[in-house]
């Protein structure tokens, strides 16, 4: 499988305060790779590093066989779309206006939208089921609708790779499923590489090809879903005792308890 991202011994952090230390991972092209790990483990930090939103203090990260430091934000914006964990926009902005921002990497200064721009915007709105809401301001949307509007912006960017940091936050169960299926469809029919962070481990297991588990800023496990989602790994990473079964060839967590300390077991 061709490598899209290859991180070698990277160190990333905020203002001299390293969060991720000596991390080496690879992410394959055309697959869905999901980052899992407890709160504060460094998933968003790693995502920011891959999207060139944080400086990589040590080590090398190559994206598409190019050192990330040699790629400008402008070039990267045509290869990689990012949905951040927390979003921020003018409250009066409408859904259509937000989605139109997704075309910014392609627009010439002071010129209007091209036919292609309009086509991609409509496509993104349709994919995210937002066509009827497109003229509504973001403030008037439910949390889930707003989340889908941001996803639509990333889709409109029409990049080969999409990174999503917890795309299903705020969503109810059916809408979570809808977003996961949308992501799967982008991967399968439009051949997009998907990198995302998820907290729902069952969704991670069901929709991903590969998992990368992070704990305390270090790599805890990586590989196929079946390799990573084991009871031992879950205990080590999340400190839970999970009851796992196999469902349609993938692991599924039936229930879980806080892990009993290792000493007591012996």
């Amino acid at each position: 499988m061709a490598k899209l991202i290859d991180a070698r011994h990277i160190q990333v952090g905020y203002a001299q305060h390293p969060i991720i230390n000596d991390l080496s991972i690879t992410i394959s092209r055309g697959q869905i790779t999901t980052l899992i790990g407890p709160n504060g483990s460094g998933k968003s930090t790693l995502i920011r590093a891959m999207a060139k939103l944080l400086k990589i203090d040590q080590g090398v990260l190559t994206f598409d066989d190019q050192n990330l430091t040699t790629l400008s934000h402008k070039m990267l914006a045509k290869k990689l779309a990012v949905l951040p964990q927390t979003t921020q926009a003018k409250p009066e902005l409408t859904v259509a206006e937000l989605v139109t921002f997704g075309r910014l990497p392609y627009r010439k200064p002071l010129s209007g939208l091209t036919a292609l721009d309009r086509e991609k915007i409509d496509w993104a709105l349709t994919k995210a089921h937002l066509t009827t809401l497109k003229d509504r301001p973001l403030t008037n949307l439910s949390g889930g609708q707003r989340q889908r509007a941001w996803i639509a912006m990333a889709i409109a960017q029409d990049t080969d790779t999409i990174i999503l940091d917890e795309p299903t936050t705020y969503l109810d169960l059916p809408h979570q499923l809808e977003v996961m299926q949308l992501i799967q469809e982008l991967n399968q029919s439009a051949d997009r590489t998907i990198i995302m962070a998820l907290h729902d481990l069952n969704h991670a297991a069901r929709f991903s090809d590969n998992l990368i588990a992070i704990k305390d800023g270090a790599l805890a496990a990586s590989g196929t879903v079946n390799d990573v989602m084991t009871a031992e790994n879950l205990r080590r990473i999340f400190n839970i005792d999970a009851t796992l079964i196999a469902y349609e060839g993938r692991p599924l967590i039936l229930t879980y308890e806080t892990a009993t300390p290792a000493e007591d077991v012996q």
Partner: protein, 332 residues
């Protein structure tokens, strides 16, 4: 809003401005006919005294008022968007006061400087204030906090205003400064316009070119980056433009507040929040407001002139309160 209704609004604003400018050329302490105004503006040479008054005194005054109105309103729109703060304005944030302070120093200690030199110092003053405000408001946070920004601005503004007044007292400049503060647009002459007009025009063109980018100024820096745009660069460009526009305006007619705060709100009320539309409307309405206020200042009690700032406040404050109540989320 529909494209058509925007075009109508834009045309309406152009007609309003032209009408106000024509009225302002015609009426004043000394009335004249529209025919004389037309002759004064278009004829190559004129011997008629009325026409000469219009040409040498009123035309620069009205042009100056229009340019300054666009400059102040344009800086307001730039500041409000890049700081994500609906209360931002070069007056409220102390940028005008900084320009005024260095200008007072020039008047007090270096009375023989040329127009261009004093203006350069006013621009330096504006830059100094802008730098101070941004330093204070970014001291703790990595991102500009809206209320810290306004508080810092008010503090800086009061400081520089107080320093200017103190200096004027000590240097016995009361007369000169009062003339300059209260003369309003009357102080604008052809020679000043020739020297300073081009700077304002350049600033305004930059403001118009930045307008489409101002829409993304409300995103986070990270989101803008992942769309290939740099908000720090946009902020720097906008700030330099604001510093030039307000520095030059202050050098021409003194510190005028409120235009920059009010007019962008008015424009957004009319055409929505897309800056591609808001900016041109802001510039036109800014010019209309100052031209109208200048006309009223001359008409209320001729031949005395009512201080320009009072007229602006009388027109502006009710408008602003109305708009602020219309848009509840501005309280956030």
């Amino acid at each position: 809003m529909k494209k058509q209704s925007f075009t109508v609004t834009l045309l309406g604003c152009v007609v309003l401005l032209i009408g106000l400018m024509a009225a302002s050329l015609r009426w004043g302490a000394d009335q004249t006919s529209l025919h004389n105004v037309w002759q004064a503006v278009t004829a190559a040479k004129t011997t008629n005294l009325d026409q000469q008054i219009v040409r040498t005194i009123r035309v620069p005054r009205v042009l100056g008022a229009a340019l300054i109105g666009t400059a102040l309103a344009g800086s307001g729109a730039l500041m409000q968007s890049v700081t994500k703060n609906p209360l931002a304005d070069s007056g409220l944030l102390g940028i005008n006061a900084g320009a005024g302070f260095l200008l007072t120093i020039c008047l007090a200690f270096f009375p023989h400087l040329t127009t261009l030199q004093t203006t350069a110092w006013a621009v330096v003053g504006a830059a100094m204030s802008a730098a101070l405000i941004f330093a204070i408001s970014t001291m703790q946070q990595t991102q500009l906090n809206p209320s810290t920004l306004v508080l810092a601005g008010i503090a800086i503004s009061s400081l520089f205003t107080a320093l200017s007044e103190g200096l004027a007292l000590v240097g016995q400049l009361k007369q000169d400064l009062a003339f300059w503060y209260f003369s309003g647009m009357g102080a604008v002459s052809w020679s000043q316009l020739n020297h300073l007009g081009p700077w304002l025009l350049i600033g305004l063109i930059v403001a118009l070119c930045l307008a489409p980018s101002l829409n993304i100024a409300y995103l986070s820096d990270n989101t803008a980056h992942s769309l290939g745009k740099s908000l720090p660069v946009l902020r720097a460009l906008a700030l330099v433009t604001v510093v030039i526009l307000s520095g030059v305006s202050v050098a021409l007619v003194g510190t005028i507040t409120f235009v920059g705060l009010l007019v962008p709100h008015l424009a957004r009320f009319l055409v929505g929040t897309n800056y591609r539309r808001v900016m041109p409307i802001t510039l036109l309405l800014g010019a209309s407001l100052t031209v109208a206020a200048d006309l009223v200042a001359r008409m209320v009690n001729p031949p005395q002139e009512t201080p320009f700032g009072i007229i602006i406040a009388l027109i502006g404050v009710p408008c602003f309160i109305y708009l602020a109540r219309k848009e509840p989320h501005y309280a956030e």
